[in-house]
């Protein structure tokens, strides 16, 4: 068989279990795809020795007849996840050379399930960015192009390496993390599926922290079914994360019946933004019609505080980041600046952090420091947390009225060109997350599914938002949407 790297997780699982392919063959196919993908800059630390060893072990396990669904599936891992003995830099120069002595809970669960690690994936520095242009490794390039125009496009961010790697078939699936849209926006920009589960569904232990009350990891995959399979392996209670939920993990794949008759789908009027490109509103209308045709009941809903989600986010996330990133001080790990004679420990902190953090990270840490500083804490931070309560309440009211899921666009546009936003003020870039950030503030599960192409041939995604802890139901609605949309386009290989 050729092009094994192009398989979905579900297809590969079935072939592996039938004995038609081996994990070693599958892994080799991905390793050669990665070798030829330097132009994308998605994989930044390759681990072929680990992959081959894990693949051999997976084959033995498959032979024994007792192998879980993820056994032998080659994955890419976002650089934000700590992986034992393998560089884990969160896309930052400040963690140059850092090799964790421990494994994140999520990646450990994946390896326990027999999955294979191909390497670490590029990302925005500390997951702060929406275009993968803040990484110390350089930009990731989207495998998609505008027709024959060879201008490089962003894959989105912060999980841009994960999105590009899955879209370009360098791996079968990848881990991502999502603080304000960092799984869902890049998934939409690259024509793949990405789910951010309910806050607390996946352990945050060993995942480098950005904004702890918002951060949640999830899978980025080629199909909704794959997302269900991979999420099940990633999810579960972890005593090492005090916010991890002690709830049983259902069989998410079993929820994919495609039957959504009688489901109530809410269409929030506040998401119809002024100046929304026609292609986006058309896609949204088409998606609504597809769910209606599948038997769902469509209802207009209101989430009145939507407008305040981004400003609240840009208080809460930087505040938490300034606190979380205080640990990068040049003492315990990572970069330490060289000191001149007579310079003391404060010089060491200040120089280390100036050299180690990129511009966007510095800016957010300082904004966070400002909003938490004496005299402003109430006016900014506490007010933002109050608004967050109201944003969550909006959703609770809608769900209490019987809405099962909410359909929205995933992003305000298709992928834009790398460098195109360089001169814009930072707020312009933040607007990328306008449809996704509410979901993090409310702790809800959200998924994006590719639903069409724009005039330039670029993928566009739709987002579904579900009730807390009901990822199975949400995945099923997404599955119905995926079936109806029938999105099968792939980027043509130029790299």
């Amino acid at each position: 068989m050729t092009d094994l790297n192009k398989l979905t997780i579900a297809e590969a699982r079935d072939l592996l279990h039938k004995g038609d392919v081996t994990a070693v063959e599958l892994t080799e196919s991905c390793l050669s795809a990665i070798e030829g993908s330097n132009a994308l800059n998605a994989f930044v630390h390759n681990t072929p020795e680990i992959s081959r060893e894990q693949a051999k072990a997976a084959d033995a396990r498959l032979k024994s007849g007792d192998a879980p669904a993820m056994c032998g599936i080659p994955l890419g891992i976002k650089d934000l996840f700590c992986t034992k003995g393998v560089p884990s830099q969160a896309g930052s120069a400040i963690l140059e050379g850092f090799k964790p002595e421990y494994e994140s809970t999520i990646t450990q669960q994946l390896w326990d399930n027999g999955a294979v690690m191909l390497g670490k994936l590029n990302m925005d520095e500390f997951a702060m960015g929406s275009s993968n242009e803040t990484s110390t490794y350089g930009d990731v390039v989207n495998p998609w192009r505008r027709g024959n125009d060879d201008a490089p496009l962003t894959p989105g961010g912060s999980s841009g390496g994960s999105a590009a790697a899955v879209a370009a078939d360098l791996c079968l699936g990848a881990t991502g993390t999502d603080t304000g849209g960092s799984i869902r926006q890049p998934a939409a920009f690259t024509g793949i599926t990405g789910i951010k589960p309910t806050y607390g569904r996946c352990s945050r232990w060993g995942v480098v922290a950005f904004a702890s009350s918002l951060d949640q990891a999830g899978p980025m995959t080629k199909s909704v079914r794959d997302a269900a399979i991979m999420l099940e392996a990633m999810a579960g209670h972890d005593p090492l994360d005090s916010t991890s939920a002690d709830l049983p993990v259902p069989n998410f794949e079993a929820a994919l019946t495609g039957d959504i008759k009688g489901k109530k789908i809410g269409i929030p009027k506040e998401y119809r933004m002024d100046g929304m490109p026609e292609e986006i509103s058309k896609l949204w209308e088409d998606g609504t019609a597809m769910l209606k045709d599948a038997g769902a009941e469509i209802v207009d809903i209101s989430l009145p505080h939507t407008k305040y989600a981004l400003p609240a986010y840009y208080v809460i996330a930087p505040a938490e980041a300034s606190s979380n990133l205080a640990r990068y001080d040049g003492v315990r790990y990572g970069h330490r600046a060289t000191l001149a004679a007579g310079e003391g420990i404060d010089d060491m902190y200040e120089k280390t952090r100036a050299e180690g953090f990129g511009h966007e990270v510095q800016r957010r840490v300082m904004v966070g420091t400002y909003v938490l500083s004496a005299g402003f804490y109430d006016a900014y931070y506490n007010r933002a947390r109050r608004v967050r309560t109201l944003i969550k309440r909006d959703f609770e009211q809608v769900f209490a009225e019987g809405v099962d899921a909410i359909l929205t666009p995933a992003t305000p546009s298709a992928a834009f060109g790398l460098g195109e936003m360089a001169d814009a003020d930072p707020v312009q870039m933040y607007l990328n997350d306008v449809f996704t950030v509410t979901v993090n503030l409310a702790g809800l599960p959200g998924i994006t599914v590719p639903a069409g192409l724009d005039k330039q041939g670029l993928p566009l995604g739709l987002q579904l938002i579900g009730r807390p802890w009901e990822e199975g139901d949400l995945l099923n609605v997404a599955y119905a949407l995926e079936q109806a949309a029938g999105f099968v386009s792939k980027p043509s290989k130029w790299w």
């Binding site: 421990y102 009350s213 330490r336 420990i345 420091t369 109050r386 930072p426």
Partner: protein, 95 residues
């Protein structure tokens, strides 16, 4: 309120990030753009609304107060830029 160069310098110092003098005006301008955006929150009536502390209502788990981990000095020091004699080493702090 508007952030001036002096405030930007003070915030940079609080965050322990060295910012060159000539970079401060641009930084102050960026802060102002972001804070201007955040100002919108003042339109919201938050009277009587509790600030969110936990997005998913849950009690923190409790466990026995016993030592469950430790004796990992070598591993803990393995990534230090400067470790000596079993300790993290830093520039002299006390005269």
């Amino acid at each position: 309120m508007s952030i001036d160069k002096e405030t930007a310098a003070r915030v940079a110092h609080l965050a322990r990030i060295r910012v060159k003098d000539e970079a401060l005006p641009a930084l102050a301008e960026e802060f102002n753009a972001i804070l201007g955006f955040i100002e919108q929150l003042n339109e919201v009536d938050v009277e009587g609304v509790e600030p969110m502390t936990s997005v998913t209502p849950q009690r923190l788990k409790r466990r026995e107060d016993v030592v469950t981990d430790g004796n990992q000095q070598v591993k803990i020091l393995a990534n230090a830029p400067d470790a000596r004699e079993g300790f993290f080493a830093v520039p002299k702090v006390v005269e």
